[in-house]
């Protein structure tokens, strides 16, 4: 018995060591970002700020274009997320629960299509469509294109998720006299919520970081998101101004970190799903 306890102890230590090691490996490339924004003269090297300064942030805050860009990112990401989350939930629910024929194949085929469309080859038709709709240089253009592009994946993830939820939940509600709509909103939706949350975070992160689509569809400074504005912290010669770039990167990263922490605290970050046998 003692030998087994010892074994478990050894095993635990090995696991803990492995986890610490992997966590450190993952954190290492980001350590630089914790120091550089607070350094008055940063190079690419890792250096503990001395003296510690907030002057980089002060300079960044004065760049109205870059500050406005953060707001633009927020508008575009929020708009896109609402559309993706809403449309994907409804569609995934329908695909999971209604007797539409061939619906299993549909989600996967759309997923494949979207993989073609997310490549740069499809930027031209997307530009032409947006241009024909008269939406070039509007937030709406970016929101719609992202919503369309992310939807197939969102539906794929969510349908998996909803399929894993027993139909008996809604069935019993309907036996008790609820309409299909009531069954969806009152019974199914609360159960699906963790899945929606995953899709929302995933979509938000995608839109928040994306460069090419806003770059192709927008023209005026006042609409550009932060992923484009970050290039205003490059010097006249085209090299990054390391200190300002690091400071702005930190500010630019905060919303996604906050979103993750909030979601993790409020809902827990969980996936269900998996294709069932």
């Amino acid at each position: 018995m003692r030998k087994r306890t010892q074994n478990i102890f050894v095993r635990r230590t090995i696991f803990a060591a492995a986890a610490t090691f992997l966590g450190t490996i993952f954190a290492l490339p980001l350590v630089w970002f914790i120091f550089a924004p607070f350094n008055a003269r940063a190079e690419l090297g890792l250096a503990i700020p001395s003296p510690f300064t907030l002057s980089n942030f002060a300079t960044v805050f004065q760049n109205t274009f870059a500050m406005q860009a953060l707001l633009n990112s927020l508008i575009q990401a929020a708009g896109g997320v609402v559309l993706v989350g809403g449309a994907a939930t409804l569609a995934a629910y329908a695909l999971s629960r209604s007797p539409i024929p061939g619906k299993g194949a549909v989600t996967y085929i759309l997923l494949l299509f979207s993989s073609v469309v997310s490549g740069s080859a499809a930027m031209v038709p997307i530009f032409l469509i947006i241009s024909a709709a008269g939406l070039i240089d509007t937030h709406l253009a970016v929101i719609l294109v992202f919503a369309g592009g992310l939807l197939p994946t969102a539906m794929f993830i969510l349908r998996d998720f909803i399929d894993a939820i027993p139909r008996s939940y809604e069935e019993s509600a309907m036996v008790a006299g609820a309409s299909p709509l009531q069954a969806f909103f009152d019974v199914a939706l609360p159960v699906i919520r963790p899945g929606i949350v995953v899709v929302v975070v995933w979509a938000f992160v995608n839109i928040w970081g994306s460069f090419l689509i806003p770059f192709i569809l927008l023209r005026s400074d006042k609409l550009m998101p932060a992923s484009v504005a970050i290039y205003s912290f490059y010097s006249e010669a085209g090299t990054p101004i390391v200190t300002l770039l690091a400071a702005y990167s930190l500010i630019y990263s905060l919303p996604v970190i906050a979103l993750y922490l909030f979601v993790n605290w409020k809902f827990g970050f969980r996936f269900f799903g998996g294709i069932k046998s």
Partner: protein
């Protein structure tokens, strides 16, 4: 038992309407445009911008032209590179590491677990421009954090972006994307009733036996979902461009970067579109293999 329908066809259609409209306009139309244009020599600049010719399968033949297929900077080289990239960074890297991370997370203390998860997820959620720059600083030959550590350990520093560019992007993509697989497997493991593991503990099973004999068979569906998604994402991932621009000498020019160069630097849409179609067929092939390996029918039966 007769399954009674939870949603009538009409209500189902109504639920599908918003997604169908968005997907129809921004996915299906562009998709068919890409298919169509892949059979033409359409460009953005020059004569063929105004007056493209229908060239049949010529773009595809050009891609698979045996004379240039293996030349660096050509499609074939890029395709082989991308398949290696997907196998190494998505399958072995993200999926396997993600599985390991999720498994480790089940066994370590809560504090260690949150440290591990936070570090892994941070790599996944931060914006790509930020990540690209962080890695650039990390790998810098003279001052980068990595070489600083190596020197500190008495090891020779490496000129990573120049000497091992392919391994750099493999590790980079593994690092960047492992979080998704980890999170998916986290919840997969949580969906397994704890009593299964308790029974195994009583029988004195090792961790490896529990993973192999209990957990993995139960989460096969999750594994397939994960592989399908990360394969597709890795085929399309563009972030390595921020590190290497596809170089040096095209040694990291995976297909997404190749397409970008063809479609957006040379403005050859016809050829770029053909590459997009080939990537899609590759994705389809990978997905069929996954489903086959998991002993499933190609597309789930209802």
């Amino acid at each position: 038992m007769k399954k009674f329908s939870l949603l009538s066809t009409r209500a189902g259609a109504l639920f599908l309407a918003p997604a169908s409209a968005l997907v129809g306009v921004f996915v299906i139309i562009p998709f068919f445009w890409v298919i169509f244009v892949s059979f033409t020599n359409r460009t953005l600049l020059g004569r063929t911008a105004v007056d493209p010719d229908f060239v049949g399968l010529q773009n595809y033949f050009a891609l698979f032209n045996p004379a240039t297929f293996f030349t660096r900077g050509q499609f074939g080289f890029s395709l082989i590179l991308t398949i290696q990239f997907v196998l190494l960074s998505a399958l072995i890297g993200q999926a396997l590491l993600g599985l390991l991370l999720a498994w480790l997370s089940q066994t370590v203390t809560p504090t260690l677990k949150s440290f591990l998860q936070t570090a892994v997820i941070a790599a996944w959620i931060l914006p790509e421009v930020v990540i690209g720059f962080a890695w650039f600083a990390f790998l810098d030959y003279d001052n980068g954090t990595l070489n600083m550590i190596l020197r500190g350990l008495g090891l020779p520093p490496g000129d990573w972006l120049l000497q091992q560019p392919f391994w750099v992007i493999v590790f980079f993509n593994t690092w960047r994307g492992a979080a998704f697989s980890m999170m998916l497997f986290n919840s997969a493991f949580q969906s397994i009733p704890p009593s299964y593991f308790q029974a195994a503990d009583v029988a004195g099973a090792t961790s490896w036996q529990k993973l192999r004999d209990i957990a993995l068979p139960l989460i096969r569906g999750h594994v397939v979902t994960d592989l399908i998604l990360i394969t597709m994402w890795t085929f399309n991932v563009f972030t390595p461009f921020l590190l290497t621009h596809g170089g040096p000498s095209y040694r990291t020019e995976i297909l997404s970067i190749y397409t970008y160069r063809i479609a957006f630097k040379d403005f050859e849409f016809g050829k770029g579109a053909a590459v997009g179609v080939v990537i899609m067929l590759m994705n389809l092939a990978f997905a069929l293999v996954y489903l086959r390996l998991a002993h499933k029918k190609p597309v789930e039966a209802e």
